[in-house]
Assembly symmetry: C3
Homo-oligomer: 162 residues x 3
């Protein structure tokens, strides 16, 4: 998580622009925190004659297609906030350069995903924390799949009493 595919006009971004864009996107996700190497970005130029919006060729349009697999955004408040946060992040690369733009985020199955042959460890597990620190995928065992936080939740009696 995530994969960012950026369809953009020919020549819209220099190599330096793309690097800065990728760094900003990576920084946003690393604050979740998730391992930085989870963030993959692919830039693809599309000629105006192959890019249509509302049936008309559009030479100044950027279409961002994002896949999330590591996390689901829970609940309407966080989902709206995230869409807005993404929009602020990308503004210097779209709005401020006079491009029109559109963003969609898809949520794909977290359990049908692998990195270097390893299925990513559970959210907030010891293994995930180690992957964040080492910034690369490596094998982990059952022990490391345990959560960093509390192992137990309040039991039946406590909940019934709640």
């Amino acid at each position: 998580m995530p994969l960012w595919k950026v369809y953009h006009p020919v020549g819209a971004y220099s190599a330096q622009d793309k690097k800065e864009f990728a760094e900003k996107v990576t920084a946003m996700y690393s604050r979740v925190p998730i391992p930085k190497f989870y963030v993959v970005m692919i830039f693809e130029e599309v000629a105006a004659e192959s890019f249509y919006v509302g049936g008309a060729s559009h030479g100044k349009f950027v279409r961002l297609k994002i896949d999330h697999m590591a996390r689901t955004l829970p609940g309407p408040i966080i989902r709206e906030w995230w869409v807005k946060a993404v929009d602020q992040l990308i503004a210097p690369f779209v709005r401020d350069r006079g491009y029109d733009w559109e963003v969609t985020i898809d949520e794909v199955p977290a359990d049908l995903w692998s990195l270097q042959g390893e299925i990513p460890p559970p959210f907030e597990s010891h293994a995930e924390k180690r992957w964040v620190k080492e910034n690369k995928a490596s094998p982990y065992g059952l022990q490391e799949k345990l959560p960093v936080g509390d192992l137990f939740m309040p039991g039946v009696t406590e909940k019934s009493a709640g």
Copy 2:
């Protein structure tokens, strides 16, 4: 909604073909009706040596990958009808030119989507109707999120009596 990605043989479509194709697709969706600028089409040439069907290189194959986010197709009748309608629409660009073809439609989260930084207004709302008319995204408030149709549904008593 929607994004149409068309993977096609090198030189399969002229700029004029692509424009006509995009116009036809846009016309189909605008009859729903949804704003025309929701319809984005990206054409991408794939060389025969990079395109495989059943393990064999295929130089006359068109693969259409469609994302829907504005609307979900409700129920089996409408879903089958839509698949057939799409197939009729594309026939002049695939079957009638001697290409093999395949189509898939994915339905991605409508609430993780933005256009020019605006989350699209609710289905059949006043704001959506204005977007259809103006054919561009613009800010809207709570008032415009209300439906064009009836504000109230039959209440508890009426339903119980029904």
Copy 3:
């Protein structure tokens, strides 16, 4: 099912490599069994300056993005097994060549899918078996939509007795 999109470094694979890769992938799915022509693979070169992992340009990275529509992988055991099976299959094309790699599989609606204008027949139906044998899409009727296996399941009485 399935569509395999392979984003890879410029020049990573020769035409012969791509053919062998596609043949191996097709062989894996044909053992399910599903018709061979369901398996589509698209290779796409991405220049290092357009490919970012963790905010850094990466010239030796392969990103595989797979869509499944014919089948859903049922349950956690089979899902994990499949991810591992895919990883073994691709190892000669990624790990053994010194590339880093990542794989995601998405499951898209099976009922919003068509091949040559035909909605694929039900899983394990007579029509599907014929498509496997003929290795091409063709019309089929209600009769051929029936399952190859038992038409009836144990009835209410038997189940209650069970």
